[in-house]
Amino acid sequence: MASEKVKTFTDSNFDDEKKSGVVLVDFWAEWCGPCRRLGPTVDALATEFDGRATVAKLNVDENPTVPERYAVRGIPTLLLFKEGELAETIVGLRGKEDIAKMIERHLGA
């Protein structure tokens, strides 16, 4: 079940939404098999970090500008922003524990 804690980012709200705190953005599309595998992990992270970090999804089909700006040419890709600045990039599948550790590291620092 998709978590309502996951925000939906678009080309138009992206800059505003990612400008403060720790923000994890999942770049995905319907037709991408591995993206669908990563979906439940992203949902779980949104619940786990509720109130501490923002977890969001951005559909690359509907929003071509943001992926272009960050040279995203493969999905799934996870970008982590801290206070608006790109801090981490994960390309491809990764376990929930690994991603959680990465978020914790940026929350702690």
Partner: protein, 324 residues
């Protein structure tokens, strides 16, 4: 009566055709299998489009749809499917212990390994660094980003031809770079690729380097001709690597026999060097590597595991289920 204090009779690691078929058979034998999906859940078929050589579907079936069906079928007969990855296995003590990425552990009398194989990289440094920025091992995931752009496919086998053909939907031109002057691909795939006006071939060549521009996006590749040693630049936007696979066996190194290239050695069907541990699918097969052979070997592993457990426990309920 059962002397076992194991949590499970059988655990299956991997959720491609081999793992899910092993699950289907062991579930129907009332062994209540636990299947651990792994990170690349569904296996390599999740990265394909139309599968035209799976018997029973005359018009083909989409790879991800086939896996969804297999998963549902395995669950219907009582397979418990667990998401996530295995971090460690201990096969030195019985029952065997499987430890998950989150730290939880489960013990089992029998283990079926169906962890498959993952795409091989060029291992030239720049290919992995530019993964997600123009270098990819998944055409169906990333082809979309190369609409109207020139790209290359590296490799000369069936997968390389399939990717090249698929990518002509998006790309302006697809250059197939192959180390030899003939393809390894089957005749039907060769013919399809050769007939495609968007596909060109660069023979006897390997990729020496992948180049990137100011924002970290791929801008071209450096090609080395293996006969002349000559280096040349090919400007392009994307590189799709299809040079084969490596078996996912790092969990088992030092605990069961592997061959020189890391594949699990099997004997008399699906038996590994360790009684009670069975292997199925691409993790033990570098020759056939088909969905149907993986499924077939998954069935073999399930039947072998059943027999092993019968001998181990003399459990009458298992024998009765097997007879039906």
């Amino acid at each position: 009566m059962s002397a076992s204090r194991a949590d499970r009779r059988v655990v299956i690691i991997g959720s491609g055709p081999a793992g899910l078929t092993a699950a289907l058979y062991t579930a129907r034998a009332n062994l209540a299998p636990l299947l651990v999906e792994g990170l690349e859940a569904g296996g390599q078929l999740m990265l394909t489009t139309m599968v035209e050589n799976w018997p029973g579907f005359r018009d083909g079936i989409m790879g991800p749809d086939l896996m969804t069906e297999m998963r549902a079928q395995a669950e219907r007969f009582g397979t418990e499917i667990m998401q996530g990855n295995v971090a460690r296995v201990d096969l030195r003590h019985r029952p065997f212990t499987i430890e998950f990425a989150g730290g939880e552990k489960v013990t089992t009398d029998a283990l079926i390994i169906a962890t498959g194989a993952s795409a091989k990289w060029l291992e030239i440094g720049s290919d992995r660094r530019l993964s997600g920025h123009g270098v990819s091992t998944c055409a169906t995931c990333d082809g979309y980003f190369f609409r109207g752009k020139p790209i290359a496919v590296i490799g000369g086998g069936d997968s390389a031809m399939e990717e090249a053909i698929y990518l002509t939907r998006f790309a302006s031109k697809v250059s197939v770079v192959h180390r030899r002057d003939t393809l390894r691909a089957s005749k039907i795939m060769q013919d399809k690729a050769m007939a495609n006006p968007k596909i060109e071939f660069i023979w006897d060549s390997e990729v020496a380097d992948v180049k990137d521009g100011p924002s970290g996006e791929v801008t071209g590749i450096t090609i080395r001709n293996l006969k002349t040693g000559h280096l040349s630049e090919v400007p392009l936007d994307g590189v799709f690597i299809a040079i084969g696979h490596v078996p996912n066996t790092s969990l088992f190194v030092g605990q069961i026999e592997l061959d020189d290239t890391g594949y699990i050695k099997t004997y008399q069907g699906s038996r590994t060097s360790l009684p009670g541990v069975f292997a199925a699918g691409d993790v033990q097969d570098h020759i056939y590597r088909q969905a149907i052979t993986a499924a077939g070997s998954g069935c073999m592993a399930a039947l072998d595991a059943e027999r092993y457990l019968e001998g181990l426990h003399d459990a009458p309920e298992v024998a009765a289920a097997h007879a039906t």
